[in-house]
Amino acid sequence: MFLVPNAVVRFFHRMASPPHFYVFTECVMPWLIVIFALLSAAGLYGGLYLAPADYQQGDSYRIIYIHVPSAWMSLFIYVAMAITAAIGLIWRIKLAEIIAISSAPIGASFTFIALVTGSLWGKPMWGTWWVWDARLTSELILLFLYLGVIGLYGAIDDKRVASKAIAILALVGVVNIPIIHYSVEWWNTLHQGPTVTKMDKPSIHVSMLIPLLFMALSFKFYYLIALLQRVRIELLRRERNSQWVKTMLLESK
C-alpha cells in the first residue's frame, strides 16, 4: 500500500462507501452521457455515411459497427463481472458485489445484440440465419452464463449469500472467454477470422476502422452509464434501512 499515493487510497476508500458513491455517480452522469452521445454520433456518421461500401459484402457489412462492438462488450463485461465478483467474494466489499450483479443484465443484452445482429448479417452473406459453429455456439453459451447468473441471484433471498453463489458461477464461466476469442482460429468454419485484433496489421481499411473504434468506445461509455444506473438502484435496495437512504427519502418528499 505504501507504493500508492495517499490521495488515490483515499479516493478508493471514499468510493467504497455507498453514500459517497451515490453522490459521486450523480455528478459524473451528465458528463458520461455527453461523451457517449458525441462518440456514438461520430461513429454512426462515419460508419453509415462516410465509410465506403465493402467490395465484397456491399452495404450489408455496416452491421459490423454494432455487431463487433457488442461482441467485444459481451466479453469485456463478463470479465469485469467476474473480477468484481471475485473481489466481493474475497474481501466482502458490498459495492463490488453490486457492480458484479448489475453488470449481468447489460452483458446479457450485448450478447443478445451480438447474436441477433450476427444472424441478420449471416442471412444475406452466408445464406443462413444460424450455424452451429464454434464462435456462435460459444457466444450462445455466454448468454446462458449471464442468464444463469441473473437467475441464481434472484433465486437466493439473502443477497450477500447470492453474491457468493454468482461469484463462483461467474468465475467458472471465465473458461468460456478465451474459447470465444480463439474459436475462429482454432476451428475454421463460416464465421470470418479476426480483422481488427490481428497482431501484424488489421485487414480493414482506415476509413472503416475509425468509426468502428468510435463505436467500441461509445459502447464502453454506454456500459458505464447503464451500470451506474443499476448500481444506484441496487444500492438503495440493499441499504434501505441505513441512515443515508432514510435521509434521502425524507428529502425527496
Binding site: 453509415l48 455515411y49 461500401a53 456491399g58 452495404d59 450489408s60 455496416r62 452491421i63 454494432i66 455487431h67 457488442s70 443484465p105 447489460i106 443484452s109 443478445f112 445484440i113 441477433v116 445482429t117 441478420l120 448479417w121 442471412k123 444475406p124 454506454y222 452509464i225 447503464a226 444506473q229 443499476r230 444506484r232 438502484i233 438503495l236 435496495r237 434501505r240 427519502l249 425527496s252 418528499k253
Partner: protein, 51 residues
C-alpha cells in the same frame, strides 16, 4: 453526393441493416428505462411504508 433514398436503401440490404440498428437501439434503451422505473417504484414503496 448520396441521396436520402440511396442512403436508406443500403444497397439492397435495408432490411438487415436497419433491423439490426433498430433492435440494438431498442435493447439499449430498455437498459436505461428499466432502472428509472425501478427507482420510481422504490421511492413510491418506501414512502408508503413509512406512512
Amino acid at each position: 453526393m448520396m441521396s436520402m433514398q440511396e442512403f436508406f436503401a443500403m444497397g439492397g440490404y435495408a432490411f438487415y441493416v436497419w433491423t439490426s440498428y433498430g433492435l440494438t437501439l431498442l435493447v439499449l434503451l430498455l437498459n436505461i428505462i428499466i432502472p428509472i422505473v425501478q427507482r420510481k417504484q422504490f421511492f413510491r414503496q418506501s414512502l408508503k411504508r413509512k406512512r
